[in-house]
């Protein structure tokens, strides 16, 4: 058993970055994720591991620092909340185009615009369908507990380097602000420069090693045939993610007649709905996507063969529900229930929606 602590999601993700042996964090404060940079600056990880923590002058500066640092093969991350993540989209598109590994944490708040500081899940489209311009995806992990805020840091970097791609941890104000018991992993050593050159010297800008051609990091190629080939290559990575790295959790689906599909804090609320429904003899289960891209289509397709209906529960006007509908492909009923603008649905109202829209409807 590792070290047990009571921490906020935002603090857990920050501590996990230090323990993961991250080399650099570049950020700019915004509610409800300011505790990430607050924790990192208070903790002074340059004394613990040599990790650089830098408060940039803006989100644009932070994402471009991340772009540059990721190009050197170092382990780097940034975090923000919705409006700040929107500002970072240009840089994220460049990083995806340049095929660089890094981790971006979004603790989502209500929008659009400056919106509100309360929790939301209305950045699903932005996170999973691109966000910036061009044909690209992020690998997107959705934690639903403080423990997962910590654990997904390691998983995110593993995927970022496996695919040389930006990875997003898509959290929300509930998971960021709540405290839970968290078991922390032991400290990992940061890679030395020599180790970085050995592992990533084939693509990273680490100096010309052994007289090889220089590594060039760019998202620009004016030769459209080359750019098309590059796009096809990017798409092949997304196909590989769909084959190899889909993650999800099924809760009480074995005998379920109805399924709620929900991620993040909505998945927690939906677990309570299972208890309410089963007390009334309604066989309800929850499918919780852990990766939002790649989306767990197959398990939903399988469930669609034997259940009577799906309710997508998300704190948005209905975004993930589109992916659920694509997976179910018209076999059974799929409806959406959500609240907007920072309102978190209660288990009772989700249960009512299930009865009205799916069971009675």
């Amino acid at each position: 058993m590792g070290e047990l602590k009571l921490m906020k999601g935002n603090e857990a993700v920050a501590e996990a970055m230090i323990r993961e042996g991250v080399d650099g964090y570049f950020g700019y404060p915004i509610t409800p994720q300011s505790e990430v940079i607050e924790y990192l600056t208070t903790e002074e990880p340059h004394k613990r591991t040599g990790m650089v923590v830098l408060q940039a002058e803006s989100e644009l500066a932070a994402i471009n620092m991340l772009y540059g640092a990721a190009g050197t093969g170092k382990k780097v991350a940034t975090s923000s909340s919705s409006p700040g993540i929107s500002l970072k989209q240009e840089g994220i598109s460049y990083i995806a185009g340049s095929e660089l590994p890094c981790v971006i944490i979004n603790v989502v708040r209500g929008g659009p615009g400056l919106g509100t500081i309360q929790p939301s899940q209305a950045d699903y489209f932005q996170a999973t369908k691109g966000g910036g311009h061009g044909d690209y995806h992020l690998y997107v992990l959705a934690p639903s507990s403080v423990q997962e805020m910590a654990d997904f840091v390691e998983d995110a970097f593993e995927m970022a380097f496996k695919y040389r791609t930006p990875v997003m941890i898509l959290s929300d104000g509930v998971i960021g602000q709540m405290m839970e018991k968290v078991e922390l992993k032991p400290q990992k050593k940061r890679l030395t420069d020599a180790e970085v050159i050995k592992k990533y010297g084939s693509w990273a800008t680490v100096g010309r090693v052994g007289g090889r051609e220089r590594n060039i990091i760019t998202s620009l190629d004016l030769d459209s045939h080359k750019m098309e080939a590059h796009n096809i290559h990017l798409q092949s990575k997304y196909e590989q993610m769909k084959k190899e790295d889909v993650r999800y959790e099924e809760l009480q689906t074995e005998d379920a007649e109805y399924i709620i599909v929900a991620y993040g804090s909505s998945a927690r609320i939906s677990q309570k709905v299972i208890q309410l429904a089963r007390k009334d003899g309604i066989k309800l289960g929850v499918l919780r996507p852990i990766t939002l891209f790649p989306f767990p289509e197959k398990p939903i397709q399988e469930l669609a063969k034997r259940v009577k209906g799906f309710l997508a529960v998300e704190m948005s006007a209905g975004q993930m529900v589109e992916d659920v509908k694509l997976a179910v492909n018209g076999k059974v009923k799929v409806e959406h229930y959500g609240r907007n603008g920072g309102i978190v649905p209660t288990p009772g109202e989700v249960y009512e929606a299930l009865k009205q829209k799916i069971i009675g409807g």
Binding site: L4, L6, P32, I117, Q118, G173, V174, Q177, M178, M179, E180, K181, S265, R268, I269, Q271, K272, I274, Q275, V344, T346, P347, G348
Partner: protein, 180 residues
């Protein structure tokens, strides 16, 4: 065992830290815990509340509308949360500043004169520990030594000299709680 608790009052009364100490005490006895504050542009003098859950099982929703226990420390919170106590549940409140006392007959109601006792003990800051003591007398869901361990974990070391004072405040609350 699962205990779902709302603690609600004014910012500055120690509502959030009372919840944190309770949550840490749960960890000390190997329970699952969650602590979900109302957060927002609130500040001292505004309302503050926190939902704390202690359970032997994995905790589902950290956000609730019904509670086993409501610990109420001002009138606004009484108006908001009296109706949220589950049938047979507990409502514990400090009557100081309460104009409209609870009227439900299907729940257990207790009072603790926390503000008054804290003033008598010469330190208004231990108010929340008196209230916590009162709660633990009625529902001993965590052991006192686990609370002390929890206090040690949640207080920075430079404040550990205040632990005996906090312990005596908890004990005072345990002695002075009254059924209504």
């Amino acid at each position: 065992m699962t205990e779902e608790i709302i603690i609600a009052g004014f910012g500055g009364q120690g509502v959030l830290s009372m919840g944190k100490i309770l949550a840490y005490s749960g960890i000390m006895q190997d329970q699952e815990v969650s602590w979900m504050p109302s957060y927002g542009p609130e500040m001292r003098g505004g309302t503050a509340n926190v939902t704390v859950i202690l359970s032997d099982e994995r905790i589902s929703s950290p956000i609730l509308t019904e509670f086993d226990t409501a610990i109420i420390l001002n009138q606004q919170s009484m108006d908001k949360f009296e109706k949220g106590v589950k049938k047979g549940g507990l409502l514990l409140y400090d009557p100081n500043g309460i104009i409209h006392h609870p009227t439900r007959t299907d729940i257990d109601i207790y009072t603790i004169n926390g503000a008054e006792l804290a003033a008598e003990m010469g330190n208004p800051k231990i108010f929340n520990m008196i209230v916590l003591g009162a709660f633990l007398k009625i529902k001993p869901i965590v052991k006192l030594d686990n609370v002390i361990k929890g206090l040690k974990k949640s207080l920075p070391e430079r404040y550990h000299n205040l632990i005996p004072l906090n312990q005596s405040a908890i004990e005072k609350g345990m002695q002075m709680v009254k059924a209504k």
